[in-house]
Amino acid sequence: MGRILIKRIMLGLITMWIVSIMVFTATEILPGDVASAIMGKSATPEALQSIRTELGLDQPALVRYGGWLMDIFSGDLGNSLATGRKITELIGERLGNTIVLAVATALFAVPLSIFLGLFAAMFPGSFFDRGVSTSTLCLVSVPEFFIASVLVLIFSISLNWLPAISQISLNAPFLKLVQALALPVMTLTAAIMAHMARMTRTSVLNVVSSPYIEMAILKGVPRRTIIVRHAFPNALSPIFNVVALNLAYLISGVVIVETMFAYPGIARLMVDAVTNRDIPLVQACAMLFCSTYVGLNMLADLLSTIFNPRLRFPK
């Protein structure tokens, strides 16, 4: 057991290392370099050269990669090219907002989709089951900005209940915070719910076809009890897996939603950085998102190993 966990964590670290190489290489394929990006097109060759020496750009790529990695570990991410401010500051200001958005979405979407999936599994083939299946398929197929814009038209424009722009600050009164978060959370929930609900249904139904459930049916246990008491606990492992994977998928949803609602989070910071071609900031944000993604994927594997004894002892 312990050895498998350590092995999986090592694999995650190696993945992170590969990711860091790829993120760093992105700057190497940049036509021109950071120096010309700072100085603009009219810079003289001498000025460029001095900036290169100052930033250490005249060093070989491997040395610079090593230095960059060391800087990341020591928590110094450098300065943003566009604003000149410290990147750790820029990210620090917004990190909380994105975490609040993600946690709120997880708290809302995970129970909802597991409930829907369980209910659908209780009555397979029923009207409710088909309704859940078709509507979640439709929700996952449409772009996030479609869901978001329809929600804005309904809740902000027609009903005038919720703000269309989510300018949140974490010290605002709780009700204000909930109002600002409502539409982004609803959009993200719609985007990630489908997979989780369908997977819950499928894994519960898979368990239901096993002999011990047949035994319970023959014994006369009510259907609801069979699903909740006998089938669901054994279906937890694949469900955990798909939940963690979908929280990782949340990352791409967050990018769209933060742009749509002008939400002051990390994703929008990164999109702005890409638009300004502010490479150091892009690198920092990318490393942050990618490590979250790798971490969640690793967590998914670890959880399913812990909850599924068969995976603990591979043949």
Partner: protein, 303 residues
């Protein structure tokens, strides 16, 4: 896509009541019975395909022409679907945009299938270090959330149509590679392939006549899914301002341009978003019916 399991207790209503009558029946037809949702999907897809092919001929105005001095002129007043943020005809731009949105994604997906498919079969057939190298490379690309990969590449290279196509092709090729490799490996150990080898058929004949035909159904379903992902992905980038660039009409660009209109209650941003949604839902409905059909028991079809 996971195969849908049957209900709690297997239904027995499909069991033939009288076996003796079977010989009198005509041989079973392998007819494709498709549900209503599938037909809805097919009709929506056909409409959009028609628009993508002939849209520019049908459009009442050129895509850049301003037909109104007002922003967000309401529906019915100007044009069929109203005007956009600088008074251009939304209906015409929607017709022009179809070609861009659907065409770009189609090119990227086809290229992804060629790339992923060729390398996938190569890994399956080659095995050994060829497989190891290709698979680890594939894992490295898959370790990124695809949107992050796209944002990094665009930050480094800037955005243009070729960059978009190559990037989406690379991102979409990774799952295709995984699928074709798995399919190729599964099928190449089956008895009929063994038999063909024993007959002394050469490797290319085996791939063409025995392995490839057996992968068509799952690959076709995968193509539908990858195509919708490409559409959503490119539209998302255009929506972020990092994909197709204005003034070119593209559905994702149109959503971005007209987003501000939402605060005035104008549906100008919702219309192109709905167009993307209807297209992707349609393809997903078709794929879903297709997968469901493929998962039906063979025995069920024999009766």
């Amino acid at each position: 896509m996971n195969p849908k399991p049957k209900g709690i207790l297997p239904k027995n209503d499909s069991c033939p009541a009288d076996d003796s009558s079977r010989s009198d029946r005509p041989p079973p037809k392998r007819n494709l019975r498709l549900g209503a949702t599938c037909w809805i999907g097919i009709s929506i897809l056909l409409v959009w395909l028609f628009v993508a092919l002939f849209g520019p001929l049908l459009a009442p105005h050129p895509q850049g022409e301003m037909i109104s001095y007002d922003s967000f002129a309401p529906m019915g007043e100007v044009g069929i679907l109203g005007g956009d943020y600088i008074g251009r005809d939304i209906f015409s731009r929607l017709l022009f945009g179809a070609r861009m949105t659907m065409g770009l994604a189609l090119i990227a997906t086809v290229l992804a299938f060629v790339l992923g498919g060729v390398f996938g079969f190569l890994a399956a057939a080659g095995g050994g270090w060829v497989d190891q190298v290709l698979s680890r490379l594939n894992d490295a690309i898959m370790a990124f959330p695809s949107i992050m990969l796209a944002l990094i590449v665009i930050a480094a290279l800037g955005t243009s149509i070729p960059v978009l196509i190559i990037m989406v092709c690379l991102i979409e090729a990774t799952p295709v590679f995984r699928l074709t490799r798995a399919l190729g490996m599964d099928i190449s150990v089956m008895d009929f392939v063994e038999a063909a080898r024993a007959r002394g058929e050469n490797i290319s004949w085996i791939v063409r006549r025995e392995i490839f035909p057996n992968t068509i159904v799952p690959l076709a379903a995968e193509f539908g899914l990858r195509y919708t992902y490409s559409i959503l992905f490119i539209s998302a980038l255009s929506f972020l301002g990092l994909g197709v660039q204005p003034p070119q009409a593209d559905w994702g660009v149109m959503v971005r341009e007209n987003m501000i209109g939402l605060t005035y209650g104008s549906p100008a941003a919702v219309i192109p978003a709905a167009a993307i949604g209807s297209l992707t839902v349609a393809i997903n409905l078709i794929v879903d019916a297709f997968v469901e059909h493929g998962n039906r028991d063979v025995s069920e079809e024999m009766i």
